[in-house]
Structures are given as structure tokens and as C-alpha cells.
Amino acid sequence: MDASLKVSGLAYAYPDGTQALFGVDVTIGRGERVALLGPNGAGKTTFVLHLNGILHGGAGTVRVGGMEVDPRDKKALREIRRRVGLVFQDPDDQLFMPTVREDVAFGPANLGVRGAELERRVAAALERVGMAHVADRAPQHLSFGQRRRVAVATVLAMEPEILVLDEPSSNLDPASRRELAEILSSLDVTVLMVTHDLPYAAQLCPRSLVLSGGVVVADGPTHELLADERLMAEHRLELPYGFVVPQRS
């Protein structure tokens, strides 16, 4: 079976010459939940924007579910964007339609889904994040935690191969943070989670990658990486005060 995501030799420099990625290799199997850790400026966002072909032009290849991302092939790109569900950090960037229902319908409607099938997808996606009761509300009238969950629903409705979340726990209060974790662990979809929140990574992702200076410097079981003090210190990763990495069997 094809891996959900296979990135090989990915390198990228911004038009101003700043090199952000220096040959990244990552393979994520179907159904895995993986955290992408790294300090600010490590190239995490640049990496994520390559997964659905928004950024391109450097060296290397990205394959999603066996299909190569080719930014010149518009039709293939549409399929890639269905397969990669990107949840942005600020839900106000993600939710731009007048009502939650229309926003969740936006993605699948762009893929040509209409009528009863569209309604079914919207209802199912909202159901999975526990937000079916706000379908007719305006996004700006929801709490921040609710908006983040609706943002997850907007990409679930596209039935993606891999869900990519940028800082999913940022700005959430502890209860919303826990609720989101419960939702994410209940989904049977491949997850790549970009985060600074190391306890969140330890809780949700059995495996982690550390991206630093534009290369993957570590790849392994999350609790082992977090327990490696030298690695952590070298890449400006720090556990919150008082947090002890739980040992897994």
C-alpha cells in the first residue's frame, strides 16, 4: 500500500534567496499520527505549504497517497488539495464564508460535489467534531475553540488522505485543548501535526519529527525524542516547567 505522504529531497529557497529547506525526507504511513516539531524559523510552515503544492519550484518530490504533486498540472493539483487537508493556525483565516454550513461545504463544492451528497458530507464532518448544532451560525459568533473545531471540519468534509494541522492547540483554553485532542484521536485519518506544544505531541502522536535549520534532524518515538535532553537543547525545544515525559511500554 502507498504511504500517505512521501517527501524526498525537498529543498526550497524563497524568491529573495533565503534558503528554507535543505533536502527534507519524510515518509508517513497510512493511519499514522506524527508530530512535526521545531523551533521558530525552522521551515515548518514552508514545508507544510509544499504538501499541497502552494509552494513549489525547488528540488525534490512530494507524493500524497502515491500521487506526485505537480504544480503545473491543474487537474492533478485539485486532487492533491483534496487529499491534503490543511488546517491553518488562525481559524479566522480558514473560515471565510457567512455561515458554518457554507464554509464546510466550500471545499467539497469546489470538488464538484452537489446536492444530497454535499449535505451528507457537511453533516458528517460537523458531527465528527461535535459542531452539528452550530451549522447555521456565523463563524464570528462562535468561541475560539469552536471555530478551531469547525476549521477541522472544513477539511474533513473533503475526505482527505492526510490531515495537516498547524499549531492546533495554540490559544485554546485547557478544556478546548483536551476536547480537540479527543476529537483528533478519534479520527481514522493520517495526521501530521505541526506544533510547539510538546506535551500535546506526546499525548497525541506516537512518532515525531524534528525539523531544524531546514532538515529533519530527528525521527522517532515521541517520548524518546522528548527525553533526549541534548537533542532538545540543540534545537531550542523545551518542555514546560514541571512536565515529565510519560514512559510508554
Binding site: 483565516d93 471565510f96 464570528q140 477539511v155 473533503m158
Partner: protein, 250 residues
């Protein structure tokens, strides 16, 4: 502005209502200003429409005030215009100017009231769908939709910036402080611009290709078209009658 309700007027498709208001306004504007009775009939028509839609008169009256700055000039006309003078309340004013002022005031107010009734009985986003149905370029309606969605976000951002300024002891006292306010405005503009780029990325990521998918159907039946034609058709008849009266006068 929108007032939720379930009257027959609320239920009419948005594009029918927009065309009805447009037709009504055209009929009013075309009416000769000397036929004052015609304007009274128009006012009665609007009052009837408001009652039919269950919109309280107070709701309309408060919002009519928005026209005040725009018709202010009309009040100056009787004093500024030339031509034969007449005496009103002990003041000598221009007769032409008086007619001009009445013309602007009467037609302006009728137009504003008609628009208020439209906005009161139609949700803003449904109104935009109606505009789109009338073949207004989608780019324009998309811009309006985004203004509607992000207005609150931008205002909240502006408020936070003001709070942050005040928290550091800033208080706008005189014109020299305009420089600081200008800087804040510049920062706000940059933030909006960056947000716009991020929203665009989010849209691309979900398969946006320059066209918004049509998600809500707003089809009009023959009956609905006929119902929404009542107001403009009556107004057109009144306008025609006013012209006939005007001609027999000459």
C-alpha cells in the same frame, strides 16, 4: 439593519425585491415635482408595504436619519438659488430653490425608505446572492461578502490596538497626535493585507479556482415575480398619472 421575520415580503426571492425597489425608485425620480399628491401616494404605498412586511414605523424612522448629511445641501437651495423670490415665514427665498429643495427631499426620502425596507426584510448575505443573480460581476459580490465576514474581525483588531495605545498612556488630544493614529492605521492596513493573503492560501488549499461555488438556490416562481411587481407597477401608474396632470396644466 436586518429584522428577522416571516412575512410574505421576507420570503420573496432577493433579486425580485431588488428589482422592485429599483423600479419604484425610477418611477419616483421620473415624477414631476409639482404634482405633490403623487408623492403622498408613494409614501402611502411604502407605508402599506411596511405594514405588510410587519416592519414597525419607528424602526424605519430611526434609520431614515442617515440621509440627513446628504440632503443638508437641499436646505440651502431656497437661499442660494436665483429667480423670482417669494416670502415664506417672513424670509425672502427663491421660488426655484424651494421647488428644488422639495424635489431632493421628497425623492431622496422615498428612495431611502424603500431601501431600508429592502434591507430590513432581506438578510445581508441573501441580498448579495440576489445581486449576484442579477449578473453583477462575481468579483464585486465576493468583495462585499468578505467585507461582511471580516468587518467584525477588523473592528476588533482596531479596538485591541486602541486599548493597547491607551494602556501605555496615549490619549489623542490635538492634531499632532494624528501622526500616531496614522501609524496605527498603517499597521492595521498591513495586518488586513497579511490576513487577506492567509485567507487566500486557505481558500486555495480547499480547491478555490476563482469562482465561489453556488450553495444556496434562490429561484423565483411566477407568482413571486407578480407579487414583487405590485409596488413598482403601482408607482409607475402614479408617475404616469402625474405626468398627464402636468401636461393638462401646461
Amino acid at each position: 439593519m436586518y429584522r428577522p421575520g416571516d412575512s410574505p415580503v421576507h420570503r420573496l426571492p432577493p433579486h425580485c425585491k431588488i428589482l422592485a425597489v429599483l423600479g419604484f425608485v425610477l418611477a419616483v425620480v421620473a415624477t414631476p415635482r409639482e404634482q405633490m399628491w403623487a408623492f403622498a401616494v408613494y409614501a402611502l404605498l411604502l407605508a402599506g408595504a411596511a405594514a405588510f412586511a410587519g416592519v414597525p414605523y419607528g424602526h424605519v424612522a430611526r434609520r431614515v436619519l442617515i440621509e440627513v448629511p446628504f440632503v443638508g445641501f437641499a436646505f440651502l437651495l431656497p437661499f442660494l438659488a436665483t429667480g423670482p423670490r417669494v416670502e415664506v415665514l417672513g424670509l425672502e427665498v427663491s421660488q426655484n430653490g424651494l421647488w428644488g429643495a422639495w424635489n431632493i427631499l421628497a425623492k431622496g426620502t422615498l428612495g431611502v425608505v424603500a431601501s431600508i425596507l429592502l434591507a430590513t426584510t432581506t438578510e445581508p448575505r441573501v441580498l448579495l446572492l440576489g445581486v449576484e443573480r442579477l449578473r453583477v460581476p462575481p468579483l464585486l459580490t465576493q468583495i462585499a461578502t468578505f467585507m461582511f465576514r471580516y468587518g467584525d474581525v477588523v473592528v476588533a483588531e482596531m479596538r485591541r490596538m486602541r486599548t493597547a495605545r491607551a494602556a501605555r498612556g496615549f490619549e489623542a488630544r490635538d492634531l499632532r497626535d494624528a501622526r500616531i493614529l496614522g501609524r496605527s492605521l498603517g499597521a492595521l492596513f498591513l495586518r488586513c493585507f497579511e490576513r487577506g493573503e492567509r485567507v487566500h492560501l486557505a481558500m486555495l488549499s480547499r480547491g478555490y479556482d476563482g469562482r465561489m461555488p453556488v450553495l444556496l438556490r434562490t429561484d423565483a416562481s411566477g407568482g413571486q415575480w407578480a407579487a414583487s411587481a405590485v409596488l413598482p407597477a403601482t408607482a409607475a401608474a402614479v408617475s404616469l398619472a402625474a405626468w398627464m396632470a402636468q401636461w393638462t396644466l401646461l
